[in-house]
């Protein structure tokens, strides 16, 4: 066994720790690892190029940008903000928890690309969350705003990850089935997906609780500010 290509992994870890440019670190690590495994420079470049092109789907967020860009210039984020500010009964926690539930259910049916950071979080969920937080504390500071936007992105990730593992026709379940089939263990996709259900519930409850706790913290901070005035 050739352990030298592992230096590529070490290179990534060190590069990230030194805060070098990630794009540069990643490509250099790939080249290092390929050369250490004994590939020629020509084969290394071909492997890099082929591997890059097989992952083109990761760039499709570009397709959402023209529409989202035009709408943002016309005030989409301001409108999303005003819309939530006008709904008195919609609290911060209700907004994020219902988004979490919706995202989990959609990805459970394999509809991963229906929502996402460019198409729903940046133009809609993030400004809506900020508006909902402003209803608690109108004088909320920039750090808290950033944390709220980050929490909106985190909610999207968690909903996606802990829903998609239940979907049988794509991705994770088929990878698991394929792996065991290669090793002589035949499994029914349904029998794999069912074991992801308890964790999906656990993730929903845990993240919902964290959202509720964060809302309480906002309420407490607002009350203290008020008392100080």
């Amino acid at each position: 066994m050739n352990y030298w290509p592992l230096l590529g992994v070490a290179f990534v870890v060190v590069g990230f720790a030194l805060r070098l440019n990630p794009a540069l670190v990643v490509v250099a690590a790939g080249i290092l690892s390929a050369l250490l495994s004994g590939l020629s420079i020509a084969d290394t470049l071909a492997l890099l190029g082929h591997s890059f092109l097989s992952n083109r789907m990761l760039m499709l967020l570009v397709l959402t940008l023209p529409a989202i860009g035009l709408l943002e210039r016309a005030g989409l984020r301001e409108r999303a903000h005003a819309f939530v500010a006008g709904l008195r009964k919609l609290t911060f926690a209700k907004l994020l928890i219902s988004y979490l539930a919706m995202r989990q259910v959609l990805s459970m049916f394999g509809l991963n690309n229906v929502a996402g950071h460019p198409q729903t979080v940046r133009p809609l969920l993030a400004p809506m969350s900020e508006a909902a937080a402003e209803k608690i504390d109108p004088t909320i500071d920039d750090d808290a705003r950033e944390h709220i936007r980050a929490l909106a992105a985190a909610t999207d990730n968690i909903g996606l990850f802990f829903g998609e593992d239940i979907f049988i026709a794509l991705g994770a379940v088929l990878l698991i089935q394929g792996f065991f089939a290669q090793n002589g263990i035949e499994l029914d996709p349904k029998s794999i997906a069912i074991w992801a259900v308890p964790t999906a519930f656990a993730a929903f409850i845990i993240h919902s609780l964290r959202i509720v706790f964060y809302q309480r913290r906002l309420v407490r901070a607002a009350r203290e500010n008020h008392a100080a005035d």
Partner: protein, 323 residues
């Protein structure tokens, strides 16, 4: 009929338009960055067919292009274009004029994707299916984006040139972070091809006390997290850790239920995905999209959820895989 490759071509065209806009602003490095990427998308199909037919020259050229992209990104000179366009007052006035109608084109992307993805088995033109079954949901997303673009243009009375300018603005804000997911996935492919995974599996299997069931469960779950953090992708970690620890130690030696072990092992990896900047499209790109000053802001907002879910997951694995 509609294949995912068309979406890649469209992506290439959008990137090419941005390259032209940057070139006209005399921002040469930015124009080169998006231009190279655009060519990779427009020519990608041809390169892939040549590669599969055994001709590696074009793939080598793309490899060289990837190196060029990395050098441009690493030069630190892809500075952002100063925002001037219209200020927030103009946006606020426009927002109150257009009202909730603004949501319609934005919602056309998710709802259009949903409807097209659900109905695609029944959509036919003549005898040919409208959507090629390979990557049908992503193709549906591409169609929904085009429909939403035209809806947005008619609502805001803008032309394609304005759409191009806005695309360039958003891409410029993302800068090289937009390509990072592809580069990381490329690295995953290179690691797989050079045997990094097998080496990690071998080393970790050597370090584990095989007779303790708890130790094996912990090693498998933690190994999934750690390797996912390094690779940025649970799918890359799963075959390595399951071949190294899950299958020989837990399934064969301790008689774990493979279906439960596999599902919960993968979910442990997902907890790792929430913790790592290597999962750029989930953790780094959104930080750029949401204009966070801290590039790790998203990870900081979700690590606690990941830690709690991981603990629940280990307990579930211990009890469900050994009923």
């Amino acid at each position: 009929m509609l294949r995912i490759e068309y979406a890649y071509w469209l992506c290439g065209i959008f990137l090419g338009v941005c390259a032209l806009i940057e070139a006209r602003r005399r921002r040469v490095l930015q124009a080169a960055f998006w231009g190279i990427l655009s060519l990779c998308f427009i020519g990608g199909d041809i390169v892939e067919s040549a590669f599969n037919a055994g001709d590696k020259f074009l793939a080598q050229t793309v490899g060289a292009a990837v190196v060029a992209l990395a050098i441009l990104a690493g030069s630190g000179r892809l500075k952002r274009h100063p925002e001037f366009a219209c200020d927030s007052d103009v946006r606020r006035i426009s927002a109150s004029k257009l009202g909730n109608k603004l949501f319609l084109p934005a919602l056309l992307i998710p709802i259009g994707t949903l409807i097209l993805a659900l109905t695609q088995p029944w959509l036919h033109i003549g005898d040919a299916a409208l959507f090629d079954s390979h990557q049908a949901t992503l193709t549906a997303l591409a169609v929904a984006c085009v429909i939403a673009l035209f809806a947005a243009m008619s609502l805001t009375r803008s032309n394609l040139a304005a759409a191009g300018t806005e695309t360039a603005r958003l891409l410029d804000a993302l800068s090289w972070a937009a390509v990072l997911p592809m580069l990381l996935a490329t690295l995953g492919g290179v690691f797989a091809a050079t045997g990094v995974g097998d080496a990690v599996g071998h080393l970790s299997a050597m370090a584990i006390p095989a007779d303790s069931r708890v130790a094996c469960v912990l090693a498998y779950a933690l190994g999934m997290v750690a390797f996912t953090v390094i690779m940025g992708n649970a799918f890359a970690a799963f075959p390595v850790m399951t071949a190294g620890i899950g299958l020989p130690l837990l399934v064969v030696h301790h008689h774990a239920n493979p279906a439960a072990l596999g599902a919960l092992g993968m979910l442990s990896g997902y907890c790792g995905t929430l913790l790592t900047p290597m999962a750029a499209n989930f953790n780094v790109v959104p930080a750029a999209l949401l204009e966070l000053r801290d590039p790790n802001g998203v990870i900081k907002a979700q690590w606690q959820t990941a830690a709690w879910v991981f603990q629940a997951n280990i307990i579930l694995m211990y009890f469900l895989a050994f009923r």
